[in-house]
């Protein structure tokens, strides 16, 4: 076990844990933002550098600080390590620089993009981004492309996090999806536009931190903040069948996997659940999805305050035709 202090909060974690995982164990308010790291996939992380932290003390035995900010998703903890993330102005400044780099080629088409409202890059830019861009050159542009029948690829918006590539590598067998070319020309492709016909290929939509890969069955149907997210499940022979339904009235507009506090899916779901079961009768509703009150998705969603329990008891007595007891304390 190693004792590590992140933002003045000390926690004991098993050896070999990364700083990021240790920060996530403390809670989402301490954890650094991630664009490419995905705990459910192997080998992710290290590309985007948004999760950089300052290591003030390397370990108990060697208390020297690390000379540069380190990527917390790739650095394991040492006993007695002291890490600063949100409490370090230096790191906040460095993260603002990284955000600016990520946004260099990213178009400002949030009003059009279906991911707006649940986009990790949007959140990052909101927290760390600058109002104006300093980039003076042409942004690289691509025409939107269909990947299979149900996925739309907007290469303009891609930040090359490689999450979708790792998903195809690890979740599906027989990879038909990867990155071609290098550097500024790098591009997600399916190798000569091969359609992905795998049962779990739809998960690339959920892992995409931006709106590069979007659901074609949901394309321009509604904005996420006008939909009503509900947890639901069904018996599926391929996956766990536990999903989030994004409904409007009685229509199921979109089905996604359930996501945790860090925006990662709890369990990958199959394409049948995601794209084909668009009837409320296909699903058993478990209840409303908890949405952070700071999120735009919770805008204009009013919570119904539940009546106190004693009122229910009185109604029950009334229905049975019994006399009502006097109310002593109506708290």
């Amino acid at each position: 076990m190693a004792k590590v202090t992140i933002d003045d909060i000390t926690i004991e974690v098993p050896d070999g844990t990364t700083i990021l995982e240790a920060a996530r164990m403390i809670g989402p308010h301490v954890a650094p933002p991630t664009m490419c790291y995905y705990s459910k996939l192997k080998g992710t992380g290290g590309y985007c550098r948004t999760c950089i932290v300052k290591v003030e003390q390397g370990s108990e035995k060697d208390p020297r600080p690390m000379p540069k900010p380190v990527a917390s998703c790739r650095t394991t903890v040492m006993d007695g390590m002291v890490v600063r993330n949100n409490t370090s102005p230096e790191i906040q400044e460095a993260r603002a620089g990284i955000t600016e780099l990520l946004l260099i080629n990213h178009p400002l088409d949030c009003p059009v993009c279906d991911q707006a409202g649940e986009c990790h890059l949007q959140d990052l830019a909101f927290d760390h981004g600058k109002v104006k861009t300093r980039y003076e050159f042409e942004r690289r542009t691509f025409t939107p492309q269909d990947i299979g029948d149900n996925v739309k690829l907007h290469m303009n918006r891609c930040i090359l996090c490689y999450r979708c590539v790792k998903t195809c590598d690890q979740i599906t067998d027989g990879r038909v999806h990867g990155v071609i070319n290098r550097g500024d020309h790098a591009e997600i492709s399916t190798y000569i536009s091969n359609a992905i016909d795998n049962d779990f290929s739809g998960n690339i939509i959920d892992v995409c931190p931006v709106g590069a890969l979007t659901d074609k069955t949901f394309r321009f149907k509604s904005r996420v903040w006008f939909t009503n997210p509900q947890e639901a499940h069904r018996d599926c022979d391929k996956c766990c069948g536990k999903v989030t339904l994004w409904t409007k009235g009685t229509d199921v507009l979109r089905v996604t996997a359930r996501k945790d506090a860090f925006g990662e899916v709890e369990a990958f779901i199959c394409n049948t659940c995601r794209f084909e079961k668009k009837q409320l009768s296909d699903w058993t509703i478990d209840g409303p999805r908890k949405v952070d009150h700071k999120s735009v998705i919770s805008a204009n969603h009013y919570q119904v305050k539940e009546a106190p329990k004693y009122l229910y008891d009185r109604v029950k007595l009334l229905n049975q035709g019994l006399d009502l007891p006097e109310v002593k304390d109506n708290k």
């Binding site: 059009v112 939107p144 321009f220 509604s222």
Partner: protein, 183 residues
């Protein structure tokens, strides 16, 4: 008689003098005021032949703007609807098809855009939320109707005609601290 509060005042009407009993001086005084007002500037105007100038900040009938090439600016992002405190705006989005580039500026457009003028409180938050310069409140008055349904304004009443542009330059003057975000 003693009153409970001891604050009671007995009012007595004074007797009128001879000149007051005649009433004529008071009538003449009143007439003088009437005659004086004949030569003063009138407080009213002859509406609808004449109209008054509106205040610069007047917020009335909305307009959905087009750009210089006549394409609709609105991209159905839904920010106006989510900003609307009265929930008066309903938008249905659609994807632009090839060949419609001269009609809509962006890939997505509002297939229908409804404002319920009975719900609208003319606060101007939709205008403030709009990232595409699409919606503005103008100095036009919302007309009276007989049916409630007629107050739900669709795109036919909101989008400006290509040959009859509506001037919103007054609404575009922002404070000195306002910096527009450029692409």
């Amino acid at each position: 008689m003693l009153t409970l509060s001891n604050r009671k005042k007995v009012m007595e009407q004074e007797k009128l003098s001879f000149s007051e009993k005649l009433y004529l001086p008071v009538i003449a005084k009143g007439l003088l005021i009437t005659i004086k007002h004949l030569f003063k500037r009138k407080a009213t105007i002859k509406y609808p032949e004449q109209t008054r100038e509106f205040a610069k900040v007047y917020r009335g009938h909305h307009v959905l703007k087009r750009d210089e090439q006549g394409r609709e600016n609105c991209t159905a992002c839904g920010l106006c609807a989510v900003a609307c405190p009265a929930e008066a705006i309903t938008i249905v989005a659609a994807e632009r098809k090839p060949g419609e580039e001269h009609l809509y500026r962006e890939e997505k457009y509002a297939a229908s855009y409804d404002i319920n003028m009975l719900r609208c409180i003319f606060c101007g938050l939709c205008e403030e939320a709009c990232p595409k310069d699409a919606i503005y409140l103008t100095d036009r008055i919302v007309e009276t109707e007989y049916e409630r349904e007629d107050f739900i304004y669709g795109k036919d009443k909101l989008v400006e005609k290509i040959d009859q542009r509506i001037d919103v330059s007054k609404r575009k003057i922002k404070s000195e601290f306002y910096q527009p975000i450029k692409n």
